[in-house]
């Protein structure tokens, strides 16, 4: 066998090893109910902002605390605590992707990028939002 073949084999082995270890570090998308069962473990939830209750953020009192309520497609609701500033345009979000841990009844997010706001206003190619804006004009 040539040296190069050995090298290639080593590389393939390393690549597989990397991918396996990477797969091990992955988490899964959960619903609010299943996240409650995995209390204390870090999970990802895709949910909607519960618009019936306000997003609470008072920067004068505490700039590092933002809380709000979410509901998922199964109708479950939960309170979320995010220990950073309120993300831009949060109230307009159609969907939020949250990475954090369930603690009791509260979903806690301790990473800054633990919230991903699907806010179509950033790239205005979404017809639904455009229509909404038109009616607001």
């Amino acid at each position: 066998m040539k040296k190069l073949h050995i090298v290639l084999l080593v590389f393939i082995a390393v690549a597989i090893g990397l991918l396996v270890s990477f797969m091990g570090s992955l988490s899964t998308y959960e619903t609010i109910a299943s996240a409650r069962q995995k209390e204390g473990r870090s999970v990802t939830i895709i949910a909607k902002l519960d618009n019936t209750r306000p997003v609470e953020y008072n920067a004068v009192k505490n700039p590092n605390y933002c809380s709000f309520y979410i509901s998922d497609t199964l109708g479950n609701k939960a309170k979320v605590e995010y220990f950073f500033e309120k993300p831009y345009d949060m109230e307009k979000a159609e969907r939020v992707v949250l990475k954090g841990k369930m603690k009791g009844n509260v979903f806690e997010i301790t990473q800054k990028d633990g919230i991903l706001i699907k806010c179509p206003s950033k790239y205005t190619d979404d017809p639904n939002v455009a229509r909404k804006n038109l009616n607001e004009n």
């Binding site: 590389f11 899964t28 998308y29 008072n58 920067a59 992707v97 806690e108 301790t110 991903l116 699907k118």
Partner: protein, 820 residues
């Protein structure tokens, strides 16, 4: 039916040229194909002439399409969906241009325009490679022309028509006020209701938006050229000689793609509130990965030109790089990254077309590669382990391995979609990348340092001795940095910290060894030193990335008394923001921070600058930061924030606003919520956080604040506010009579969220006061302040690397000219 105020001509002209570009690139593809296949020189000449004309026509058409779109946007013709969706009247001229490429169809057009320019250069320079290479170029022009067609074929949407009228979209269906109530038809004067467009989101109203996309798309567009050369090599069964002609193009592509990606990083760092230059966001990764593979292909190409080894690998890398560009296009534009990326496009219904774009290049390239694989020349003899080519090949493999890992992780939503799984990155996505990439950095740094000192074929022992001096010098510098550089990033344990120190050594090693090689290996022959310079720049970049990331510090840890979080979980929480109340000096760790003032300038852009002064406690070093807030124009509360930084030679102090009071509301008086009280002197009023004592009344005060004389009628209350923690504050509300009107001057105690008004004198010598408690009136700014040490190394390293690329490219072009 005619509608009032519509301008239909530009749209018709634009659509005509869009169709023309499709037809012309079709003719160009066929003719170049025929020219490539023909064996008769006369016939070839004729086909070629036709092909060139067609390609020229295509180029003209594409430019005119772009010009028409720009004209529509500039004239604010909101009857066109494009203008309505992407622009508005208030946009500055330069942003009118950038809103053309903020749209999907506009960015495809930008890409196409670069192809036209690159194609023209290829026609002029590539000689015998022209026909096969331009066949591929014309074909991609044909494919991209379909992206702006906007027709439906068998129910599938093909392209987005940039000249679509707004009344032809479904947009008006939900807008009854635009329709005639009796007939249900659109009102003939509907345009009177469409006063302004949606505009460009303020996040994109930035000069980087003017220059970053064109450069990045030039990078994207240029990757097809090496691909076309490689394809031509297999097609014409002239397996190896294309690499000479393609080498400058590969260098060009690597250079521009790197520039574009790093410009994006600089944009993110300098003017977006992402708090850094790289976040391993899928959209960022999607443009990095093709570059990594292109650089791998560049190295194997150089190896082939020098030794005859690695030709098959070159084909593989060059093909893969361009296919990855197409795949990235699919990822970022299909909406599939919707749940993982902050800046991908939403689904525009073109997924099938985007997948087809990959397929039409992947399938022919793959078939040809498999069919011709055996015939691609390779050297049976093994590479010597002491040869440069062996280690260059290893380096290319590492680059490729790294890109496989990054693209696999980025593509997670794809298997989710296909197999219905629901995998996602864990809570700490960046670390999932960093813990792998740190070792890639170690290997690449070391290889970059050593490989230049090896010679092709075999290296004699004594020429290796030259590396001893740079090795020891790098070791000394790296140990010095490790010992005195305060790199204690132990968030992920000592193993990772050790890896960081190792990587720091490798980065220093790469920079030093390559710089010294210019003298020890090439005797200062600078013109040939492009590679060494690029490698040294790469080493510096690595060092900048390592130091700025591992030593990044949050300076604004909230340690102030007012804002302490009393919740039990507070201790583990990051508390990265600090709130500054106007003109109150606040303790911010190593600094004193004061929010001095805020100023609005440029009413068109609605920017408010917040002047924040920082003072280092130990050195007294005083400096100002002006992070700003931009109102989006939609409502008074809708604001975005841009950072500001203070540069030192060795670090940046970086700040951006997380939240701020709204200066526009400051002047609005809402006396409604003042609670009335009537008290006597020495009486107290209780409020939620303590109580207020009326000490005395002073008539016609003449002090630092007010200047009344005996002829005036003015009364000032002298009050003391004592809060729960026994903190004392003073307040002096006042009223005076002028022209028979009582005018009250409200005094505010920001720290207690209090506003006090003195309303006059009531019955029984009682005095009338109004007390308001509210948070919204307090001028405050919540700020995040970060320290990025050695960030300049990253930018300087990038510039040096780009310079190296350009030098190599010029040299390779000159070498080709010499051979002719």
């Amino acid at each position: 039916m005619d509608y009032l105020g519509e301008h239909l001509l530009p749209g018709k002209i634009g659509h005509f040229f869009a169709t023309l570009s499709f037809a012309a690139s079709f003719v160009a593809t066929i003719s170049y194909y025929k020219a490539t296949r023909s064996t008769n020189p006369e016939e070839e000449k004729r086909w070629k002439r036709l092909a060139r004309t067609a390609f020229g026509l295509d180029a003209i058409a594409v430019f005119l399409v772009f010009a028409v779109i720009y004209y529509i946007v500039r004239s604010h013709y909101f009857e066109y969906n494009f203008a309505w969706e992407h622009s508005s009247r208030s946009l500055d001229m330069k942003y009118l241009l950038s809103c053309v490429w903020s749209a999907q169809e506009g960015s495809f057009l930008l890409w196409t325009i670069w192809h036209c320019i690159l194609g023209a250069i290829l026609i002029l320079t590539s000689r015998r490679w022209e026909s096969p290479v331009m066949t591929v170029m014309s074909f991609i022009q044909l494919c991209l022309a379909t992206m702006i067609m906007g027709i439906y074929v068998f129910g599938a949407k093909v392209g987005i028509n940039p000249f679509l009228l707004i009344r032809h979209t479904e947009l008006f269906d939900g807008a009854p006020f635009l329709h005639d109530a009796s007939t249900g038809l659109l009102k003939h004067d509907y345009l009177n209701f469409i006063k302004d467009g949606q505009g460009l989101t303020p996040l994109l109203q930035n000069y980087w938006m003017v220059i970053h996309p064109p450069i990045l798309f030039l990078g994207f567009a240029s990757t097809v050229v090496p691909f076309a050369f490689a394809f031509a090599g297999l097609w014409k069964k002239d397996y190896g000689s294309w690499t000479k002609a393609a080498l400058p193009w590969t260098l060009f592509s690597s250079c521009i793609l790197a520039t574009g990606v790093m410009m994006g990083a600089a944009w993110a760092y300098e003017s977006l509130s992402f708090g850094g230059y790289w976040a391993w966001d899928p959209v960022e990764n999607a443009s990095l990965v093709p570059w990594l593979v292109m650089v791998a292909g560049l190295h194997t190409m150089v190896v082939y030109n020098a030794t005859g080894h690695s030709l098959r690998a070159t084909y593989f890398f060059i093909f893969t790089s361009f296919l990855l560009i197409l795949y990235s296009t699919f990822l970022t534009r299909s909406g599939i990254l919707g749940d993982t990326s902050v800046h991908s496009f939403v689904d525009s219904g073109m997924n099938f077309q985007l997948l087809a774009l990959i397929a039409v290049f992947l399938i022919p390239a793959l078939i040809l590669f498999i069919k011709e694989y055996k015939r691609i020349p390779h050297i049976q003899k093994e590479e010597n382990i002491y040869s440069r080519e062996f280690w260059m090949f290893i380096g290319s493999l590492v680059l490729f391995l790294s890109s496989v890992f990054i693209i696999a992780a980025t593509s997670l939503p794809v298997p989710n979609k296909i197999f219905g799984t629901n995998m996602t990155m864990g809570e700490d996505a960046s670390f999932a990348y960093n813990r792998i990439e740190i070792f890639i950095a170690v290997i690449l740094g070391a290889l970059t340092a050593v490989t230049q000192y090896l010679k092709y074929k075999n290296t004699a022992g004594d020429s290796l001795k030259k590396i001893l001096f740079p090795t020891s010098l790098a070791l000394i510098i790296a140990v010095f940095i490790s010992l005195f550089g305060h790199v204690h990033y132990d968030k992920y344990g000592t193993g990772f910290l050790a890896a960081i120190h190792l990587a720091i050594f490798c980065a220093v090693y790469a920079a030093i060894a390559n710089l010294m090689y210019i003298w020890s290996g090439m005797r200062g022959h600078l013109k040939a030193a492009g590679a060494s310079i690029a490698h040294a720049g790469f080493g510096l970049m690595l060092l900048g990335i390592l130091l700025s990331s591992s030593k990044k510090e949050v300076l604004s840890y909230n340690t102030t008394g007012i804002n302490i979080n009393f919740q039990p979980a507070a201790k583990q929480n990051p508390m990265e923001n600090i709130t500054l109340i106007k003109s109150i000096k606040t303790d911010m760790g190593k600094y004193w921070a004061t929010f001095i003032s805020n100023d609005s300038v440029n009413p068109k852009n609605r920017i408010t600058y917040f002047h924040v002064q920082l003072q280092k406690k130990d050195s007294g070093d005083l400096f100002d930061l002006y992070p700003n807030m931009v109102n989006t124009g939609k409502s008074a509360d809708d604001n975005v924030f841009n950072p500001d930084m203070h540069h030192y030679w060795d670090k940046d102090i970086f700040s951006y606003i997380s939240a701020a009071y709204n200066p526009q509301q400051e002047n609005e008086e809402d006396t409604a919520s003042f609670k009335p009280y009537s008290i006597g002197i020495k009486d107290t009023i209780f409020y939620s956080k303590g109580y207020i004592i009326l000490d005395k009344i002073i008539s016609n005060p003449d002090n630092y604040k007010y200047h009344f004389t005996a002829s005036d009628t003015a009364l000032m209350a002298d009050m003391t506010i004592i809060n729960k923690d026994s903190m004392h504050f003073k307040a002096n509300p006042l009223f005076y009579v002028r022209n028979n009107r009582i005018i009250a001057v409200i005094d505010t105690v920001f720290a207690q969220d209090l506003a006090i008004s003195f309303n006059g004198v009531g019955e029984n010598k009682k005095l009338l006061f109004g007390i308001k408690e509210s948070a919204s009136m307090i001028p405050f700014v919540a700020l995040k302040v970060l320290l990025f040490p050695q960030i300049n190394l990253l930018w300087i390293g990038t510039l040096i690397m780009i310079t190296g690329f350009i030098m190599s490219m010029i040299r390779r072009i000159k070498l080709i000219r010499k051979v002719r």
